[in-house]
């Protein structure tokens, strides 16, 4: 074996691409030859050099350009599945299963929601409902399985109030199920025992039994232990004096994120690059730094507004542990692009609960695309008095309303006292935690350039869309704004130049205006009102918060 052959063998040995005989030879050589060891060391160093090259991200326009071309292709005759196509199965774990590290981050869900039909509540006849739902289920399921929209159906944007919370720990046992194998998913879903209410109803529908369920389930009655990715859920939703039978298909969060990225790309909204110096991510990192410092206020003059707000509150270790982790995308975009994306989202019915919300990013794990979020009004809850009042209020509600069993026995369904009571006691969403798939919107430099006309327009708009804005909401907003005013005064020490502007605009902060929007599914219109900002940050959140539910949306239990 000459020198060149030896070195080639060493190269292959380094790559672990040698036969056992060759390995033995190389190892003998390495024992006896300093040059051989030196060569191997150099190969190792070269490999390290190449691997240390920075990762280049694809041009922002690549995906949108490709998709535009692909869509043009789609308008032509579609490619068909090759007859001999036999995709091999793989033993490897699906990417989304390992993605994100944590359970919540990996198997949170998105819903594809479709309103099947609406009937007036006064016409609430469950036999009829069941028959209609059964028919619609048969008609629509195929389209959903194929990933097509039921074009004649209107998208449903539901409020948290009407859907109720999802506890993330109830999603623990989700297993991957192919969406394309929806019938299997459904049968697996059905085959699990214990399906009462909704589950029984869904099973009966599919089996063709003409049964009259005592109580078609609503969203909050769904037993999440039995839900798997790929499951098709059917339930009743009552809102606005109407009953809707809604069908949702559970999809995995990775797919949802990818779809979202594709939609963003299509609307020319760039994804935040990891090393981007300007934009949300940097600011978020500051938030993270702050978070890790456990409450120490940043001295930087360029502190992000939300970070300042974070700095005014103490994030305890407990909160850090219990803070929800949400897979999220970070983008910074114009309002026009945002509106286009949201419209596309709405059309695609990816979210049953598309709502603008305010939250502070307490910490962010960019690598895993997840974030811990804290709501703005949370400091108020830390106040003992407020906290006790809140507990008392919740206790009263629990005592007043009937148990779940009692309420489900009341047939036929009417707008129950429970719902009325909950609605009455509903608080503005700022005091709620993230407990549904939400879209968080934060404005860049709020209130800086808002004009009086815009303010008036905005107020008028809110009055128009929210004629029933409760006193409770107003009161809570007032408290929030007072608390915010206190925070602003603290911030003054850090940034004197900006302080005057902020103080003067504080009263007119779009945050304040925006915070007056309760959860009633009014997702798009308010966003279109955000004319005052140069850009809007959007945080797309795809998961649910564990055990953080508010009185307005939780079905009380004994």
């Amino acid at each position: 074996m000459n020198d060149q052959e030896q070195k080639q063998l060493l190269s292959a040995y380094f790559d672990n691409e040698v036969t056992p005989e060759e390995r033995a030879k190389v190892e003998d050589l390495l024992e006896s030859s300093i040059d051989a060891r030196q060569t191997l060391e150099e190969i190792s160093q070269l490999a390290e050099f190449i691997r240390s090259l920075p990762k280049e991200a694809a041009p922002e326009t690549l995906a949108s350009t490709v998709m535009q071309q692909a869509e043009r292709e789609m308008s032509l005759p579609l490619p068909s599945v090759a007859n001999n196509a036999s995709p091999s199965a793989t033993n490897s774990k699906p990417f989304w299963l390992v993605w994100g590290g944590g359970l919540l981050a990996t198997v949170a869900m998105l819903f594809v929601a479709t309103r099947l039909f609406h009937v007036n509540e006064s016409e609430n006849n469950y036999t009829e409902l069941t028959a209609m739902a059964k028919k619609s289920y048969a008609d629509v399921t195929d389209e959903l399985v194929l990933g097509k929209e039921a074009s004649s159906l209107q998208p449903v944007i539901k409020s948290e109030e009407s859907f109720g919370p999802l506890a993330s720990n109830e999603l623990k046992d989700f297993k991957a199920l192919s969406l394309s194998n929806n019938s299997t998913a459904m049968s697996r879903f059905k085959s699990k025992k214990g399906g009462e209410g909704f589950n029984r109803w869904a099973r009966n529908l599919n089996e063709g039994k003409e049964s009259k369920p005592s109580s078609p389930a609503n969203f909050r009655d769904i037993n999440w232990d039995e839900v798997q990715i790929g499951s098709v859920l059917i339930y009743n939703d009552k809102s606005g004096g109407q009953i809707a039978v809604v069908e949702v298909t559970v999809v995995d969060v990775q797919k949802g994120l990818e779809t979202m990225q594709m939609l963003l790309a299509r609307n020319d909204i760039p994804k935040m690059a990891r090393n981007q110096k300007i934009g949300l991510q940097k600011k978020v990192r500051r938030g993270k730094t702050f978070f890790e410092n456990n409450g120490k206020q940043s001295k930087s003059k360029q502190t992000w507004d939300a970070t300042k707000e974070n700095a005014d509150r103490i994030i305890t270790q407990e909160e850090q542990k219990t803070a929800p982790r949400h897979p999220a995308l970070f983008v910074e975009t114009s309002k026009t692009q945002l509106a286009a994306t949201l419209t596309a989202l709405q059309k695609r019915e990816l979210f049953i609960d598309l709502q603008p919300q305010f939250a502070q990013v307490a910490s962010v794990d960019v690598k895993n695309q997840s974030a811990n979020l804290m709501f703005s009004l949370q400091p108020q809850l830390k106040d003992k008095e407020t906290s006790q009042t809140e507990k008392k209020r919740r206790k009263e509600i629990r005592n007043k309303v009937p148990s779940k069993e009692e309420s489900t026995d009341n047939a036929p369904h009417k707008k129950s006292d429970l719902q009325k009571l909950l609605k009455k006691d509903a608080k503005p969403f700022l005091v709620q935690r993230i407990n549904s798939y939400q879209m968080l919107v934060q404005m860049e430099k709020p209130g800086r350039s808002i004009s009086e006309k815009d303010q008036n327009d905005y107020y008028r708009h809110i009055k128009e869309i929210l004629p029933s804005l409760s006193d409770n909401v107003k009161e809570s907003n007032k408290k929030f704004n007072q608390a915010k005013g206190q925070k602003k005064r603290k911030v003054k020490k850090d940034d004197e130049e900006e302080d005057d502007k902020k103080t003067s605009s504080q009263k007119n902060s779009p945050h304040k205006l925006y915070s007056a929007i309760p959860q009633n599914g009014l997702a798009i219109n308010p966003l279109r009102r955000l004319r005052v900002s140069q850009s809007v940050r959007v945080l797309f959140v795809f998961s649910k918060k564990k055990n953080r539910v508010n009185a307005a949306s939780k079905a009380p239990r004994k």
Binding site: E42, L46, A58, N84, S88, T90
Partner: protein
């Protein structure tokens, strides 16, 4: 093949363009990064990646699933890049590569010329990039697929459509050339 990929491919074949969008988003960064290193030019890489995705979409019905979607996609990209080069008779080497071919300036990597560790890393990366760019197309492809993608010889052979022995030999020769070009850097490390 990744089951998730297969599912997306099936959805796409059933007429859902969004499924293909998901595949694009999933692989665009990985493909582009590898192409930049393999082709030595960002423009060519972007062009090749775009062309590869479009061709993949067009030929999706011919994808048998014997290999991974990414391997198939990368092969399309490389073929596309090669044919584009032949067609346009472009220069293989980039400007950077040409600069590199003129010789590495030893003083650039002397410790005294490096004000900080960050600067040192950037310069080192630039030297490595230049050395890679100066390799011939064949050598660059194999070494990039091996070191950046971490592929086995068999996978590389499949993508480049050549025998495994050729892959082994090319990797060795690519390393030998890199070693020569980065001699000073290697000495520094020692």
């Amino acid at each position: 093949m990744n089951t998730d990929d297969r599912q997306l491919i099936e959805e796409c074949l059933n007429g859902c363009s969004e499924a293909f969008g998901c595949l694009v988003v999933r692989y665009q960064d990985r493909l582009y990064n590898t192409l930049v290193r393999a082709l030595g030019s960002a423009d060519e890489a972007a062009e090749a990646a775009q062309e590869a995705f479009v061709q993949a979409f067009q030929k999706l019905n011919t994808f048998r699933g014997d290999s991974s979607f990414y391997s198939w996609l990368f092969r399309i990209a490389m073929n596309s890049a090669m044919s584009a080069k032949r067609k346009n008779k472009r220069m293989t080497a980039s400007t950077d590569a040409a600069r590199e071919q003129a010789g590495v300036e030893p003083e650039d990597i002397h410790p005294s010329a490096q004000p900080s560790s960050a600067m040192e890393i950037r310069e080192q990366q630039q030297l490595v990039q230049n050395a890679l760019a100066a390799l011939s197309e064949d050598f660059r492809s194999v070494i990039v697929l091996k070191e950046i993608e971490g592929m086995r010889y068999e996978e590389i052979a499949e993508i480049l459509e050549c025998p495994i022995g050729t892959v082994r030999s090319r990797i060795f020769r690519a390393r030998s050339e890199l070693k020569e070009k980065l001699k000073l850097l290697l000495k520094e490390q020692v």
